[in-house]
Symmetry: C2
Subunit: 299 residues, 2 copies
Amino acid sequence: MSLPTYVRLVEVGPRDGLQNEAQPISVTDKVQLVDALTAAGLGYIEVGSFVSPKWVPQMAGSAEVFAQIQRKPDVVYGALAPNLRGFEDAIAAGVKEVAVFAAASEAFSQRNINCSISESLARFVPIMEAAKQHGVTVRGYVSCVLGCPYEGNVAPEQVALVARELYAMGCYEVSLGDTIGTGTAGATRKMFDVVSADVPREKLAGHFHDTYGQAMANIYASLLEGIAVFDSSIAGLGGCPYAKGASGNVATEDVVYLLNGLGIETGIDLDALILAGRQISTVLGRPSGSRVAKARSAQ
Amino acid sequence: MSLPTYVRLVEVGPRDGLQNEAQPISVTDKVQLVDALTAAGLGYIEVGSFVSPKWVPQMAGSAEVFAQIQRKPDVVYGALAPNLRGFEDAIAAGVKEVAVFAAASEAFSQRNINCSISESLARFVPIMEAAKQHGVTVRGYVSCVLGCPYEGNVAPEQVALVARELYAMGCYEVSLGDTIGTGTAGATRKMFDVVSADVPREKLAGHFHDTYGQAMANIYASLLEGIAVFDSSIAGLGGCPYAKGASGNVATEDVVYLLNGLGIETGIDLDALILAGRQISTVLGRPSGSRVAKARSAQ
C-alpha cells in the first residue's frame, strides 16, 4: 500500500454545491464564499456555470462573480461550460479553465442533457478547439460512474470508454463521479482499476457523494488505488441532509480531516476552511453538512 | 488485500445508543426494538445495562426488557455489567453474555469510571470468576483507542496493553472503540497492527463513531486489516447529528450497505433493518442518523 503524499482538492461547492441548493444566493455571497475558499488554501475552485439562467437559476450571475472575486496566482478558478455558447460567455468573463460534463449512462445522458453520450462528446469537440485557441484548459466530468438512477449498475468498461474519449479530445483531467452515491469501496477500486488501463491514474479524479454514507470509504479506497485528486464541496453544499433526494456532496472539511490524519499534504488550512463553511451555512440558514464542522462547533 | 468473507455485527443501539439519547424510552419500545433487530437477522444485540438507574436513567428497566424480548436461538443478547452487583442483577435477569468496559486512557478512566485503568481491570476479576461459574461469556470493551478527550493522542501500545489484559483474564473478544471519533484510516490500521501482536485479530472488534465523518473509512481500513467484527448502532442511535457533543455511533444500516457492496456476508436483511430503524426513530421523534435510511426514504 502506498498512499499519495500530496492530494489536490477541487472545491465544487460554489458550482455543483450551490446549483443543487433550493435557494439561489446573491453574487455578493458567492464572491465572499470563493474568496474565503481562496484564503483557506484551496488550489482549485469551481466558481460557477455558464448556462442559461432559465435552466439553472442558481448559477445566474456567474460572470459577475468572476469579475468580483479576488484571484490569487496559482489558484485555478473554473467554470462549467456545457456548450459553445457557454464557453464564449466564460471566455468573455475571463475564465481560464472550463469543465465539460458527460455521463457514463446512456439513460442519464438522455434525461439530464437531452442527448446520447456520443452526441454529448461530439458537442465538446468545438469547445476543445476553441479552448485550445484561447489557451484555456478543460477538465472533463463523467457522471454515474458507479450507478445510474435509471439503469442501475454501470459497467466500469463503459466508464472507461467515456473517460478515454474525454482524455483523447484534450481534457487534461477526468473526474469520475458517483452521482447517486450508491457505490461502495470495492466497486470504486475496480472502477479505477479498469479506467486506468485507458487513462493514466494521475489524470483521474474521484467525485463522491455521501448519499449512502459511503463517500469517505470510497475516497480512502481511491487513495489506495493511487488517485490523488478529489472533488469535494464546502459544508457539504448541495447535499442538504434534511432534504429529500439530497445529492449528498462529500464535505471538503471531512476530506481534509481524513487527509491530515493520513499525513497527506493538501496546502489547505482546516480552520480557515471550517470558517468558510460556517459563513455559507449562515447565508443558507442551515447547519453545515460537514461532520467535522459540526463536531468542532460542539466543542 | 484479502477481505473477510463474513462479518459479524454487534448491534449496540439498544444499549450504547439509547444510553446516550437525551430521552429515556419505555420498556415496551425497547422490547419492540430488540425484537425488530432479531427479525432483521442480527446475531448479537446488546440489550441493556445493569447499572444504577441513578447514574444512567436511560438503562432503567433492563431486567424487564430481558424478560419480555422474544429470544431466538443462536442470537446473543448481551448486557453491560460494570461491576459484580451489576453482574448478579444480569444473571438474575437470565443474561448469558455480559460486557465489561475499560479505557485505554488513564484520564478518561478516572473521569468516566472514577478509577485507574488497573483498578478497573482488577474489578473485572471477580466478574470473570463469577461468569465462569455461571457459564456466562464476557466481552471486553476498550474505549479511547484512537484519542482521548482529555489526553489527546493515545499510543497503540497502551491500547494493546489493556486489550491483552482483558483477553488474558478471559474475555473471548475485545472491542476497540474510537469513542470520540477522531481517528482516521491510517491510525486505525496501525492500531490494529500493534494490538494484534498481543491479541489474535479474530478476537478483536472495531467500534467506530462518525463524529468526524471517519467511521466508514475506518471500518473499511479495519476490514483490510482482517478485522471481521464491528459494533454499530441502528439508525445511528446515540449519535444524534443535531445535538451538541453528539457521540456519533456509526449506523448499522450504513455498515450493512458497505458490507453488501463488498460482497461480505452478514446474515442481515437490510430492508428489515431499515424498518427497525424507522420504528425507533419514530419513537424518538427525530430523523434517522443512517444515511442509507434517509436515502431510501427519499426515493
